[in-house]
């Protein structure tokens, strides 16, 4: 019988959405293949999590050890490779997260399993003899999609982008199974020290009704005043994509996206932002999204309600004046 495994991530007491999405997708694929679906939980005192996800899988494997309290990719690799060697699942799903990026490629390599990363689609096509596994990826920062196949084999690994699949609650009655760990402590080559919280700044962009966000298209620091003036005319705050923070033109607490803030304002204006998925993840739930970008094929236009395809330096100054005029009249 074909086995499918999904890793359930958790950090500081929380399971991220992507783990529920993987539970749903893994369960769905197992059903399609008449297989068995197993959820993997590594941690310390994680009985509560195991109970919580019991309905999501046929089996819930739990490795409960003090040294697994924090998700340490090197420790996870040792434990997971032991399990995967014994179980030889057809497919293992891991989130394409900060943890998954450390863990998956290295784990797959150690087991000599083909892996595809950051996938947004998974299909198992039955061709008669052998089921063929195909994934969809998004190269060129979302400008194109790619169908990707794997080298022949009996085991595969896929990391999945958060939000690529929906999550639905399962109705299985999974068996919780305690699994022994091959090691008793963290490997000495990677030792967890601490977490540092995200910085809190003077302006909380998550509370603003109007967010005017600027990206690399602004070109020079000197041009940032254009965006500030537009934001002021709308009574909004200035936020940005990651390159603006990388260049130190705005502080980190103004960054929108997966490694920054998640905002849900009434109005979000993206100026000179291409729309990489890490950015989209931070703003896709805004009520109204406007994009100004000179590239008609920029992925941001697939998220926006209104778009202007033009040079921001021509549009933004005029737009600011029009808003002022309209407000005054």
């Amino acid at each position: 019988m074909k086995k499918i495994f999904s890793l359930v991530e958790h950090r500081r007491g929380e399971i991220p959405d992507v783990s529920y999405e993987l539970l749903t997708k893994g369960r769905e694929l197992a059903k399609q293949e008449n297989g068995e679906f197993t959820a993997l939980v590594l941690g310390h005192n994680v009985k509560e999590f195991a109970e919580k996800i019991k309905k999501e899988a046929d089996r819930v494997f739990v490795v409960d050890k003090e040294f697994l309290k924090e998700p340490n990719a090197e420790a996870y690799q040792i434990v997971l490779s032991d399990i995967l060697k014994k179980e030889s699942p057809f497919l293992t799903l891991i989130g394409h997260t900060a943890l998954g990026m450390d863990l998956a490629s290295s784990l797959a390599t150690s087991l000599n399993i083909p892996i595809a990363t950051d996938c947004v689609g998974i299909d198992i096509e039955d061709t008669g003899k052998m089921p063929v596994l195909l994934v969809t990826r998004q190269p060129y920062n979302g400008k194109l999609n790619a169908k990707v196949s794997f080298a022949a084999g009996s085991q595969f690994m896929i990391t999945v982008r958060q939000g690529a699949f929906t999550s639905e609650q399962g109705n299985l009655s999974g068996k919780i199974i305690d699994i022994a760990s091959p090691i008793e402590k963290e490997p000495d080559y990677r030792k967890f020290i601490e977490y540092i919280e995200a910085v809190v700044g003077a302006v909380d962009i998550t509370q603003a009704e109007v967010v005017v966000a600027v990206g690399r298209g602004i070109k020079e620091k000197e041009n940032m005043s254009l965006i500030e003036e537009l934001a002021n005319s709308l009574g909004g705050v200035v936020a940005c994509s990651r390159p603006i923070v990388d260049a130190d033109w705005l502080p980190k607490d103004r960054q929108v996206g997966s490694s920054g803030k998640i905002v849900k304002p009434k109005l979000y204006i993206a100026i000179g932002i291409s729309g990489a998925f890490q950015h989209i993840m931070g703003m896709k739930n805004a009520d109204t999204i406007v994009a100004i970008n000179k590239d008609p094929n920029a992925p941001i236009f697939n998220e926006a309600d209104y778009g202007i395809v033009d040079d921001l330096f021509k549009v933004v100054p005029v737009l600011k004046n029009k808003i002022k005029e309209l407000k005054a009249s």
Binding site: Q138, P139, L144, I262
Partner: protein
């Protein structure tokens, strides 16, 4: 501290139209401009900063065609000591695993303490080479690294997590780090340095020298296609004046 930095030359596709070529599996490249991959540039800078602080050497490695030498030369101009370009007809079709295997065969006998890569390439977006190479070399690694502090063979690493949270941990050398953007402020090379680097030798290695008979692919692109669009913005048409008027009206009426 001897450091190896893996560098990829990538097309700039953020600002340009990306078209699929006649094979259906690759993009049309002849009208695109190419440069060092964004996070690799931060990795290179981090290596040069560590060398300036701790001494040692920086070796840069790239797998690719002769045009890669421009990118490598820029690395030399900025402060790298040695550059290696790996190329072979047999390496035209690759994936993250194959590139990691190729790089491993080129660096395994070098004397190094640290290998740096970027955390993601802006073309394939796979983030695979760093962790795969670390596993093949049997050294510990971390990705999305935003700070490195070296102390007696142990590195205190900052790694970026979701939502701006940072994880701090210690990793023993030798190790590999896949560097995240923003870790430093990449420098520009001076004109004199660029001129000097133009005369430097770049070591070119092929499959023969590396003892590779055949690259093994774990994955293969079957086809490229435009992403299906669920919803597309209503594009406002007209001069900047016209579109601004329309947008101002929409924004202020809602």
């Amino acid at each position: 501290m001897n450091i190896i930095v893996c560098i990829k030359r990538v097309p700039d596709t953020a600002d340009a139209a990306v078209n699929i070529d006649s094979s259906g599996k690759d993009i049309v490249k002849d009208r695109l401009t190419f440069d060092i991959n964004e996070s690799d540039n931060y990795a290179l800078e981090e290596a040069i900063l560590l060398k300036e602080k701790l001494g040692g050497t920086v070796t840069i490695v790239s797998v690719g065609p002769p045009e890669c030498e421009d990118t490598l030369r820029m690395g030399l101009a900025k402060g790298a000591d040695t550059a290696i370009r790996i190329t072979d007809e047999r390496f035209t079709e690759t994936d993250g695993f194959a590139i990691a295997e190729i790089i491993k065969s080129a660096i395994k006998d070098l004397d190094f303490d640290l290998v740096l890569t970027g955390c993601i390439a802006t073309d394939d977006g796979a983030s695979q080479v760093g962790p795969t190479l670390a596993e093949l070399m049997d050294i510990p690694h971390a990705t999305l690294v935003t700070k490195i502090d070296v102390n007696n063979g142990v590195v205190r690493v900052h790694k970026e997590l979701e939502g701006g949270l940072t994880e701090v941990f210690d990793i023993k050398l030798p190790a590999l780090f896949a560097i995240q953007t923003g870790i430093n402020e990449p420098r520009y090379a001076s004109l004199i340095a660029i001129r000097r680097a133009a005369a430097k030798e770049i070591k070119v290695l092929g499959a023969g020298e590396l003892g590779i008979e055949e690259v093994s692919l774990k994955t293969k692109v079957e086809s490229l296609f435009r992403p299906p669009v669920a919803k597309h913005a209503e594009i406002l048409q007209g001069t900047p004046d016209e579109v601004s008027t329309k947008l101002a009206q929409i924004l202020l009426s809602s």
